[in-house]
């Protein structure tokens, strides 16, 4: 519909993968996830609310993350997301699949 803030160059399904990956280091709140993605991608990946929160809800629904309320760095109430065991498994599987895909794309681009 053209109203989302999701960067157009992000492959479908990759956002879930990225979110799960950011959570490997430890629990983060929604804003923290967005910031981490932005910083690590050196300002390439801007994840807006309108794609971040549906994605988080989707991960909750599938049981790959769980949310717990806690205090943020500036002492506001915030929901921190933690990777579950199922989430870890999912991350490994998705990552393998993603790498296969990237490798395949690379091969196509590199052909003589």
């Amino acid at each position: 519909m053209g109203l989302t803030n999701q960067p157009p160059d992000l492959l479908p399904g990759t956002l879930d993968l990225l979110i799960l990956r950011t959570l490997v280091a430890g629990p983060l709140h929604g804003y923290g996830i967005a910031e981490r993605l932005k910083v690590i991608s050196e300002d390439v990946l801007h994840v807006g609310e309108s794609s971040l929160y549906p994605a988080l809800q989707r991960l909750l629904l599938n049981g790959w993350v769980k949310g717990e309320w806690g205090a943020s760095e500036n002492n506001r109430r915030a929901r921190f997301y933690t990777l579950t065991a199922a989430g870890r498994k999912r991350l490994a599987a998705e990552r393998q699949e993603f790498e296969r895909l990237v490798f395949a794309i690379q091969r196509v681009l590199d052909m003589a």
Partner: protein, 880 residues
């Protein structure tokens, strides 16, 4: 998958808090962003995009889209209906009416015809066609046919039972007499106690209902004594709750062994066929296979049960009897035989009414849809998908019909119970579970789906298919006026008229049939004769005591002030509940070939019977006091018998004989009386011979007589008669009714059908004329400007009036033509239920057509007059 479902469910249960959590989380996110962008010196606000949509999208992860939409549509439907309460109320009433009618009849139909017996593996049961057999036939089949796991004989009779065992509180009760194999064959697991065995002749198994009602559901009921008639029985067991036996419609309160009230000699008799046979097939044996086995042994079974002394021609008739197996899943019931056909007819009629109701609701929805075309066009124009709007219209219809059907189901189950109580007479106590169980609930759900789909689909299709611009431009001056084109609404109205006319024709034909039945002359003064049916044998009277009881009864009745005349007889007038006595006669000692049909109906009466019931003596004399057992045998015959056997010679003085050998009786015809009906009003006139009660005591054995009392005030004398019987013997149960009441009970089917067909026809008529009215009223208001213009240009009010009347008559005429064709086509299904009327009875059909035309023009008159009296100035201004 399951975990996802559970999490989703959990979300739904806690949706409000979850939404609040999400909102808080996103607010925090925005606050953090704002802080950072302030720090960076930018303007924060725009960066988050559409926050509501984001929240919606996040929430949408959890909910099923369609469920959410359906919920919204439902709420919207309720709101929009509350905005138009009149429309909603009418539509609700129509759906409720139709559902009530359908569930009422379907409930009875289900209980009586469809439902399985409440026993284990009822599908393995079979019953023997024909359907009654003697006890020796049962034992022969039992020992010669190895295809059954179990086989039993049974019959249901009405008798007087005293649950206290003292014989003082006899109540009329249905009892099931059966051979002991009934318990293993039906696999009945008794609530308490044990079943009776072959050698038990005084054991009884009572129903769960009686156990609860009369014995407080105490286990101590086992071993207590009950009395059935003059015999004592000991309670051995109690049937499980919900068990009613094998005959749907009847719920006997006690099961007795066949040897309980019948002697070994009774049972051994091969001449009386009184037991129904039911069996359970062995595993792995199909009904065809079992039937073939039965046909193979049947001649041998019949041969082994013939009487040695049987004359050859009787033997041939006996041996020619055939039988066969029928599926016994739903049992076998005389009540079903009696009411099954009328119920099927009623099912047909309510289905027609349902169709009329669907057309009416469709029409209402269509009118509403057309009125909302602008709204719908706007919604389509701003991007709503057609399927979405379409679905919303369907949801609205579904909400409407579900609400209506819920009301209808309640009324319907109540009406079912009412119908059962109407069908119950003193002769037959109808016991049917009319509680709408899950089957009826499922049926109603299916019905609702059907009604909504049929009535909502065409309007929804029509409304959503229309082109956008037309709807948007619409200013209340749509399409051409009236007949110049056919709209869906008009077709629906014509269909309503057609279906309603079919129902009206049915109502008229059945009414004519009933009036023919009721106009039959019973031959007696129905309103002035009280029939007294005392059951003296139930109180233990036998032989001379029984005769003495009858004589004393007659003496005391004759002494009653107010009783003009009294008599005794074997059979009362209109004897349909007591059976009949027919015999072959010989005239003047000349034997006739056995093929000749010489069956004559018999009755035995006391002196002054004819005077009491009001039958005129044409020639000769009445039965008199001197016609005693020792005197020469006499008989009075009716005119029909005289016409049949003595067409050109006087019957008086001739002799007729009944019986053979030692039991042969020669009777001299001493009188001729006028014709009267024997069993029912509908029967063709029977040839009847009246013997003297005093000369038939041997024939009668220990059977009860009935008494007739003639009085001007039958109600007053009724109480006096009851006192007389109580003074004679307080233990004797007695039933007292006028012949008119007996006629009413014997015509219950005809009256029920006529009344219900009339009610359904009336309802359909009402719906059809409401449809017609609605269509024209709508047309008048929408075409007000055009009509105003015509009037302004000089059209006379009469011609405007006629324009609308003509429209209505053309529509009604088309409907009537189609309806008549339908009525004639369906007529053959009801032919068998009509008396002296054909389904195409011109008078009945003409009456139905006349009523329909009259009502159609009345329905059109109101809107037509409004059109004719339009003020052109006002009408023309309205739209511009």
């Amino acid at each position: 998958m399951l975990m996802r479902f559970l999490r989703r469910l959990h979300y739904w249960l806690d949706a409000r808090r979850r939404a609040a959590d999400l909102a808080e989380e996103m607010a925090f996110h925005r606050a953090m962003l704002a802080r950072r962008s302030l720090g960076e010196g930018g303007s924060g606000g725009r960066a988050f995009g559409n926050t509501t949509l984001a929240a919606e999208d996040a929430r949408a992860v959890w909910v099923w889209r369609w469920a959410e939409d359906a919920w919204q549509d439902g709420r919207y439907a309720v709101r929009s209906m509350l905005r138009q309460p009149a429309f909603a109320a009418i539509a609700l009433a129509i759906v409720a009416l139709a559902t009530a009618a359908v569930t009422c009849v379907a409930g009875l139909f289900d209980g009586l015809v469809v439902r399985s017996l409440p026993v284990e593996r009822a599908d393995r049961l079979v019953w023997f066609r024909d359907p009654s057999f003697s006890y020796p036939i049962l034992t022969q089949v039992q020992s010669n046919l190895p295809v059954f796991e179990g086989l039993f004989g049974w019959t249901i009779e009405r008798a007087y039972v005293d649950w206290t065992g003292k014989g003082t509180q006899l109540v009329s009760t249905d009892l099931l007499e059966a051979t002991p194999e009934i318990f293993p064959t039906l696999r009945i697991k008794l609530a308490i106690g044990r079943p009776f065995e072959a050698q038990d002749t005084t054991a009884a198994v009572i129903s769960h209902q009686v156990w609860t009602r009369h014995f407080g559901a105490e286990p101590s009921a086992i071993g207590r004594t009950i009395r059935v008639g003059d015999r004592a029985f000991t309670i051995a067991g109690v049937t499980p709750a919900g068990f009613f036996g094998v005959a749907p419609g009847l719920a006997p309160d006690v099961i007795l062994p066949v040897s309980g009230r019948h002697t070994a000699a009774d049972l051994a008799a091969t001449t009386s066929a009184w037991l129904h046979l039911m069996g359970r097939l062995k595993d792995g044996i199909g009904i065809e296979q079992a039937d073939a086995a039965l046909q193979a042994v049947w001649p041998a079974v019949m041969a082994s049960t013939t009487n040695p002394g049987m004359p050859d021609e009787r033997r041939a008739v006996y041996m020619a009897r055939k039988t066969g197996l029928e599926p016994g899943r739903a049992g076998f019931s005389r009540v079903r035989n009696r009411f099954g056909e009328p119920l099927q007819l009623l099912m047909g009629l309510v289905t027609l009414l349902l169709a009329v109701a669907c057309a009416s609701v469709a029409n209402l929805l269509l009118a509403r849809g057309v009125a909302r075309r602008r709204e719908i066009s706007v919604r389509l124009a701003i991007g709503a998908r057609r399927t979405r709007v379409f679905r919303q219209l369907l949801t609205e219809a579904l909400v409407l019909t579900s609400a209506g059907a819920a009301i209808g189901l309640l009324i319907g189950s109540w009406a079912s119970a009412l119908l059962v109580s109407v069908m119950t007479t003193t002769r037959e106590h109808l016991a049917l579970d009319t509680d709408p169980g899950w089957r009826m609930a499922a049926f109603t759900v299916a019905l609702v789906g059907f009604i909504s789909l049929v009535s909502a689909l065409p309007p929804a299709l029509k409304v959503t298919r229309g082109d956008l611009t037309g709807g948007l431009k619409e200013t209340g001056r749509p399409g051409p006026l009236l007949l110049r084109h056919w709209s869906a609404g008009k077709i629906l109205v014509a269909v309503q008229v057609a279906l309603a006319l079919v129902l009206l024709c049915g109502a008229a034909v059945f009414q004519r049939s009933l009036s023919h039945v009721l106009s039959q002359d019973p031959g007696v003064d129905a309103d002035r004769i009280l029939v007294v049916v005392p059951d003296a044998t139930a109180a233990g009277h036998k032989g001379p005591a029984l005769n003495a009881f009858n004589e004393q009864l007659l003496d005391r009745l004759r002494a009653l002030p107010g009783a003009q005349s009294s008599s005794l007889s074997w059979m009362p007038p209109i004897s349909s509940d007591m059976g009949n006595w027919t015999q072959r006669i010989t005239i003047d000692g000349i034997a006739l070939p056995p093929t000749d049909d010489r069956f004559v109906y018999f009755n035995a009466v006391s002196p002054r019977y004819f005077e009491t019931v009001g039958m005129a003596l044409r020639r000769g004399r009445d039965i008199v006091d001197s016609d005693t057992a020792g005197a020469p045998g006499v008989v009075v015959v009716n005119e029909a018998l005289t016409r049949r056997f003595f067409p050109d010679r006087g019957a008086l003085g001739h002799r007729i004989s009944i019986g053979k050998g030692a039991s042969r009786q020669d009777l001299e015809i001493v009188g001729i009386v006028q014709d009267a009906k024997y069993r029912t009003l509908q029967e063709p006139q029977r040839s009847i011979a009246y013997l003297a009660t005093a000369q038939t005591q041997e024939l009668r054995g220990d059977r009860n007589l009935v008494a007739e009392v003639r009085a001007t005030d039958v109600t007053a004398i009724g109480t006096a008669v009851r006192t007389v019987v109580r003074d004679l013997d307080p233990r004797v149960p007695v039933r007292i009714e006028t012949v008119a009441q007996r006629i009413r009970e014997s015509t219950i089917n005809e009256r029920l059908i006529a009344a219900l067909a009339g009610a359904l026809g009336g309802a359909a008529l009402l719906l059809a004329c409401a449809g017609l009215y609605g269509l024209l009223a709508c047309a008048v208001s929408r075409h007000a400007a055009e009509i105003g213009l015509r009037i302004a240009l000089g059209a006379r009010p009469v011609s405007v009036l006629w324009m609308f009347q003509r429209e209505s008559l053309v529509l009604a005429g088309l409907g009537i033509a189609a309806g008549l064709a339908g009525a004639l086509g369906l007529g053959r299904f009801v032919r068998a239920m009509l008396f002296q009327v054909t389904p195409a009875d011109p008078l009945a059909l003409a009456a139905a057509v006349a009523v329909m035309l009259l009502v159609a023009s009345a329905a059109a008159f109101v809107p037509a007059r409004r059109a004719a009296s339009l003020d052109p100035v006002v009408a023309l201004k309205r739209d511009s």
